[in-house]
Every structure is written in C-alpha cells, then in structure tokens.
Symmetry: C2
Subunit: 493 residues, 2 copies
C-alpha cells in the first residue's frame, strides 16, 4: 500500500500527509533519497502494531513547537552551572528529553533504555538484533532467559506505563536511519549499536572487516543523520577504556597536555587498541573529533570500562524484562564469566599471569553515567570525553574478590591459569583517571558489594542453564585467519 504510493518514488517537496491504519504519518522525509527508508520505518511500526505496542507517539506533533520546547529545556540545562542532581531519580527527571538508544536490545542498551524511560525521558530503541544473531550463529546463549524485543517493550509499558518506541533496522542503512531520525527527532542519541567483543573481531578476517565496517560506518552515518536531521542532537557515543591500551604513563580523560621541545599542546590521548574491535572504537573517536569540529556537533565520547552485574532497578521489575548475561568466551566479560564459573563449580580461568589491569563498573553505574551525559550536553563543536569506570582491578584481584564473596554464600571458588589467547601485556603499569563523571554526580556502586547484591545470587538462580563447553577461550589473537578455526571448533563441540 504505502510502499507503492507514488510520492515515495518521485521527488516531491511537500507531499500530502497520509494515514495508515488510522495513524497519522509523520511529515514526509526531507529528501528523495530518504523515502525508501520511510517505508522501512513504517514496516517496523507495522511490526510494533502486530505485537501490540501502542503507536500513539507516532502521531506527528507540531514540529516547530517540539523543537522550541527541546531548545528551551536544553538552554535550561546549559544555564545551570552546577545542576541539582537530587532529582535525578524523579519520575520526571528527563522531561522534554527524547533519547534514541541505538543498540537498545543489548546488555547496556536495554538497561539504559529502561532506566531513562523510568525517569521521564522519552525513549526510542533502534536495533537490528544482530547481537542475537551472533549467539545463534555461534551456539551461545544468555544465562538469563531474555525475551524478544517486542515482548520486552510491551511488558515495559504494562509494568511502567511508559512507552518505548521501536525502530528495527540497521544504522549502516542510511535510509532507515534517516527515517528513524525524521520520525523520532531525538535530543540525544546514545550509541551502543556496535559489535562489542574483542574476541569476535579477532576470530577471522570476515568478522574483523565486519566489526570495523559495522562500527565505523554506523557511527559515520549517525553523525550525518544528526547533521542533516537533528543538528542540535547530542551524540553520546560509547567508546572503551581499551582504546588507550596499557601505556606506561597515566591515562587521562581523552586528551593529554604534552610539553615537547619547549612547546606545549593539548592533543587527543595516543591510542593503542589491541584488537580490531578496540581499534574500531579508536577510529570512531578520531572520526567524531573531526566531525564535531567541522560540523559543530555536540558530542560526548564515553570510554567505558568492563561492565559487570545483571540487575538494575527496572530490569528486575518483571521476569520478561530481565537483562542478558553472557558467560561464553567471546561475549562474556571477565567478571561476569568468573562469577558464573564460580557458581557452577568450574575453576575461574585466569588468562596468563593475571596481572592485566582494567577499569570496571557496575551496570547500575553505566545507566547513571548515560543519564548524566544526557543531562550535560556538550557545546556545539565540543567533544567531551569521560572515562566511564569506577574501580581498577587486575584479573588476579577479581578472582580473589570472587573467591571471598563466593564463600559467603556457600560456594568454593577455585582458580586455574590458562594460556592467554590474547596478545597483551600481563604485567604493566595502569593508572587511569575517572573523575569527570563523579564530578557531575555519579555515586559509584562498589564491586565488593555488587558481587553479592546483583550478581552471584542471581547467577546461582540460573546456574542450571550454564553450558560449560562455552567457557574456555576459543579465539586466539595470533590464529586469526581468513577461515576461522574457531567457528569450526565451536560447531564441533
């Protein structure tokens, strides 16, 4: 029907408004090239209809009025030198902000979408579900029984009374992305929508190329979409602490002032990503800096540490809202994987000497950090960089913490050393700064508490789901080749 509508295939500066199934369509996309995408976005909406998600928020508001309101709110944010964060947990803390969460079906994205929705931010999730496809292809699964995105969003509205809009598609498809921007008009775009596993990116050439293409080109598309459709929109981009590598000097937050041969400049901190994944985030940061300066975008680059935990206030409100928890050797991050190993009586697998030190944070802090970033938009032409972690630990320290916590709940955790599949320093200096988000109001959860509160006890509940074949490392950095031995290995298990 709509797909064959003549104005979708011919340029038309001011196409007539039409309605589908009683819903007023948002005003026609601005560019002829974006028209196909409009039809795709409509398909996504149709899918939402059939799954019962209410579509009333698709009704076109007065665009000028919405923009004026968004601008007024933003001006208020800028005016507050020291914003009062005491109301950050209020039900209307985010009033007037429209946040597009790209990758909103993933581990961090889902928790963030619910956290913001629960505090009055109007939220849309953009996701192509590729994280689920990776699991399907590799034979992995979340420890926790997660529901499909349509059911999740439906249940969230039932539980909270808040709608989350859903745009199912790939941000590497610019027609889709521009239609989503046209329809939702975000004031912030939170970008979790990247392939996020270092081992996955090192499995084989195809996945290396996929990771860098998907991540880097998706971000470029996003910046063009902001430039063209929502120039005031604040881009909040998830990077990783892994961009910095393990230099022998202190790690600063994004920039470093260098004195050299009697002259001084403040430059982007030198990056040393240690996998195609980490490097994709380095590339993103470099591209973002240029686009921010050239196009006067508002951007924030969050170099996030290793996230742990599964429980946030919202994801525990109903079993259908539960977040994913990965423990396989490709997508499972160190702490979550160790906890699951401890829970099922598998020795914790320390890679090599275990002196590898990284920054960590509780997923309950991830969601707060994103909220803080939304509430503190960068100025036009400014790229803010925050190091988003709360504590530093070495792998050996993690294992010791879990051993201690595990014993308190009757477990008897053991540790074994396995050959390190990665090429990385196993003993090194590590001192990374992380004061900026705390200066803006972040109150960290501490790992020693979190292990019991939000992780070990939940894992024990689901421990019968564990497939122990997935725990051991399967991707070796030096073996990466055009045809992955790992995939064959996984399939053969």
């Amino acid at each position: 029907m709509h797909l064959k509508s003549p104005w979708l295939t011919r340029p038309s500066p001011s196409p007539p408004r039409r309605s589908i199934a009683g819903i007023t369509a948002p005003r026609a996309v601005r560019r002829a090239s974006a028209k196909k995408s409009a039809s795709k976005a409509f398909s996504a909406r149709a899918a939402s209809v059939s799954s019962g998600v209410s579509l009333s928020s698709f009704t076109a508001p007065s665009k000028a009025a919405a923009k004026a309101q968004a601008r007024a709110l933003r001006t208020a944010v800028f005016a507050a030198d020291k914003p009062d964060r005491s109301g950050a947990d209020a039900k209307d803390a985010g009033k007037g902000q429209k946040v597009m969460v790209i990758g909103g079906d993933g581990y961090c994205g889902w928790a963030t979408a619910l956290h913001l929705s629960n505090r009055g931010y109007e939220v849309a999730i953009v996701d192509n579900m590729c994280r689920r496809t990776f699991d399907d292809q590799l034979g992995f699964n979340s420890l926790t029984p997660i529901k499909g995105i349509h059911e999740r969003v439906r249940k969230w509205e039932e539980v909270s009374g808040n709608k989350i809009e859903l745009f199912v598609g790939d941000i590497c498809d610019y027609e889709f992305l521009s239609a989503a921007f046209e329809a939702f008009e975000p004031t912030s775009a939170v970008h979790f929508g990247e392939q996020r596993s270092a081992p996955y990116s090192m499995m084989d050439r195809t996945r290396a190329v996929f990771t860098q293409t998907n991540n880097v080109m998706g971000s470029i598309n996003l910046m063009y979409a902001i430039k063209e459709y929502a120039p005031e929109c604040h881009l909040i981009k998830l990077g990783t602490m892994g961009e910095y590598g393990t230099p022998n000097i202190d790690i600063e937050e994004g920039y470093i002032t260098i004195e050299h041969n009697g002259r001084t400049d403040t430059l982007p901190y030198p990056k040393q990503g240690n996998s195609f994944y980490h490097l994709s985030k380095c590339h993103d940061s470099a591209n973002m800096l240029m686009c921010t300066k050239t196009w006067k975008l508002r951007t924030t680059d969050l170099n996030q540490g290793v996230v742990y935990g599964v429980a946030t206030e919202e994801t525990m409100m109903d079993p259908a809202l539960i977040n994913r928890l990965d423990y396989d050797a490709v997508f499972g991050t160190a702490l979550n994987r160790f906890c699951i190993q401890a829970a099922v009586g598998h020795p914790m697998t320390v890679y090599g000497k275990g002196g590898q030190t990284r920054g960590f944070l509780d997923i309950r802090d991830t969601v707060r950090c994103i909220q803080i970033a939304c509430d503190n938009p960068a100025d036009p032409g400014e790229m803010r960089v925050y190091n988003q972690f709360t504590e530093q630990f070495s792998v050996n320290e993690l294992a010791a913490l879990i051993t201690e916590a595990g014993k308190k709940i009757g477990l008897d955790p053991k540790v074994i050393t396995v050959p390190n599949p990665r090429t990385e320093l196993e003993e090194h200096y590590y001192n990374a700064k992380n004061s900026k988000l705390q200066d803006l109001g972040l109150e960290p959860h501490l790992m020693s508490d979190a292990l019991l509160d939000s992780l070990l006890n939940i894992i024990v509940e689901y421990k019968d789901n564990v497939d122990q074949r997935l725990i051991l490392p399967g991707v070796n950095w030096t073996e990466s080749a055009s045809v992955s031995k790992t995939v064959a290995k996984v399939a053969a298990k």
Copy 2:
C-alpha cells in the same frame, strides 16, 4: 573454459595442474575459499594475453627455491648495517626482490612501478582502475594524455625489456587478493591502493563511507593476505603527513616520547586527521600497529607529504608512459594545481589566509623513498614510520615560488584569495621531522629547481588541455551531506 573447470567449484586439496593457452598455471591456491579468486586472476591474465602482454612470468617456479632465494637476499639486506646505496640506480639494484605495487596505475604508483622495474626489482601491479572511474564520474581528466594500463605495461616492456605483471582487481575482494599473492609471492607489498583525495572524501556521505571502507578494509585484507600467504613480505604502506594535523608541538616520525606525571613512555604520535580521507590513513596506521605486533609482520608506514611534479626518468621514456597530472579541485594537489593555473593565465587560488604549511616532495623523491623502504625491511613485529617529505612550505610561499619561476619562462602568474572550502587552521606552528629517509640515503630534489625541470615546462606543453571550469574549489567541508551538492554542481557546469 577454465572458469567452468570442475575443480574451481569443488574443494580439492591437490587439484591437477592445467594449462591455458600454453601457459602453465601456478599451483592451485591453498584454500577452497580462494578458488573463485583464482578464476578472477585468470581472467585478468586472459585480458593481459589479449592485450599482448607476455605471460611467461606466470610459469610456476619452484616455490621452495624462490622462497629460499628471497630469504637469502633478505638476510643479506639485514646483515648490512650501513648498506651501500651507491648502486641504487644500477640495473640490478633490486635483484631478487619481488614488489607488488598496489594502486600501480595511479600517480605515485605508476612512477614507482617503473622506477623499481628499471632497477631490477620484479614488479607486479595490482589495481582496479577506480581512480579513472572517479574522473569519469566527475568529468575530470589528467592534463597529460595517459594511456590505459594494458598499453602502459606493454609499452614499458617494449621500451625497457622488463615485464610488469598485471593483476586487475579490488583488494577489498579477498578472493582476488589472495590469488594475486599466491601467484606473485611478493617480498614487498607497496600499498598505494587507496582513495587519496580529502575533498573527494568530504563530498557526501556515500563517498565518506566509501573512502573509509575502501581504504581501511583494503589494508586489513592486505595484512591478512601477508599473514596467510607471504608472512615474510614487507608491507610498505603509504600514509600521509595529514594524519598528524597541525599540532602546536614538533611533529616526530610516528612515535613520541612523553613524560607525564613523573613517568615516561614512547607512544604513537597523537593523530588529528582533518577529513575522512586523512582519518582513513590514521585508522590504517592504528590497525597496522596492532597487526604488526600481534602477527609479527614486517611493516613500514610512510607518512607522505604533498607530491608534486610529473616527470620521472622512466615515465618520460615514451609518450605512452607519461604519468597523470591532476589539476581539478578534488584530485589536484596544491603545487601541481598552482603551476597549471600559472601556465594558463588563471590566477593561483590561495585558500583563505594561505598560512597553511605542509611538507612537500618531488615525485622523483617518492620513487626513491619507496626503493629505500624496500631495501630496508622492518624486523618481524616492527612497524617503522618515516615522514616522507623533503621541504616545508606555506601556501603563500608556494605561490611566491611559482611566481618567480613562472617569470623565468615568460609567464606572468597572479594570485587570488578564495574562501577556504576546508575547515582548517590558516595560520599555525608547523615543524615536522623528516631525517630518517635521508639517513637511509635519500638525496632530495629541491622545489625551486623542480618547478622548471619537471613541472612548469611540461605543463606549458599540454596547457591546451586545461578545462578551466575544474579549477575552482567545489567541495566545502561543512556542506558534506547525504546527497552531494558538488556532484550536481559539477554535472551542471
């Protein structure tokens, strides 16, 4: 014929040797996944046959013997602490080295291929001719009447007696690339095969994404091909001085030692690429460093300045060998474009204040730099970085030099200021180091001489070819959008 041979479509660990048109095919590619590419490579060879290029070099040598010989020669290179470069221009200077020149149909690539071939290096050109396609699409053309690659290679053999092998294909197509590696077995791979124009990369979203995908993924493929098919092969990758941007401190060659809070480390020099093109080279460098360390590759990253000049010894041997010379606002670099403007009586178009300072080098030095890099392979796991330029000039200084030189040959060059289409500093500190290549034997040509020797006089000869409509800037950094206004503009001229 061969394309339909059954072993091309079914896995077969040791396929029979076959001959095409009397030529022994190289031994079958190692992997089933590479088989299709073999057929593509054969197509390229068939094309060569029909254009008359001799194919005798395709006869399979004893692989083990060739490898042993290559290794012995390389060992000899390593043994020489201070290699004697006095014979660098000898007809057998490169004996035993097999150099794959990727992008060998382009401006720097073609001159390099002939320079090396003329000195006894065995050369293969890998190119997909996309540089010519860009011109076709945008209505541009080289000032000099260049011939097609098949005719060029045929003429070169006629003039010099040296064969250059030709592999026509895209290095983003890994099947093609791996077949080319299998067939040629390079000892060095010189990588010019990237989209190399900053304005092109800033025209529109599609070209931005194309530039970064083409450049970054092509380089990743190349590193996988080296890892899998020729692990001793020395990768010589062309970067750009533009990766560094214009920092307020001295620019070092690739790495900088930073003292910070009482500790010291030597880290990759902080990069600030100023277009999607320059950033693609930053990404390449970062990827290369990781792959070099992880896979123990031998790599050299050449941060090249702005190249000028059209005449090299070999490209002037016959009119059919002449190199391309670009003067349009997208592919024409500052000095070449200014000289052409001076020759046709068009005022030289200085962008903005003209204080933009960059490193420059004569194309006769480019080809020598590559030869030096080939003769000084990096150690396994080492990424060497050289800044490849010989002199620094501001845009205003260039204009003054050309004015002076032009008057000597009866021209009357004028200068006008046009609004700067780029977003860049127009007055800044600039001091870049460039001693490493000179320490290895580079003897620079100076611009003041080159203007008359190899550039202005040649341009005057071809000045009737100039299309003045192409000279003015057409790509504005801040206007880059999903649909290029520039293309429409160019088409409308």
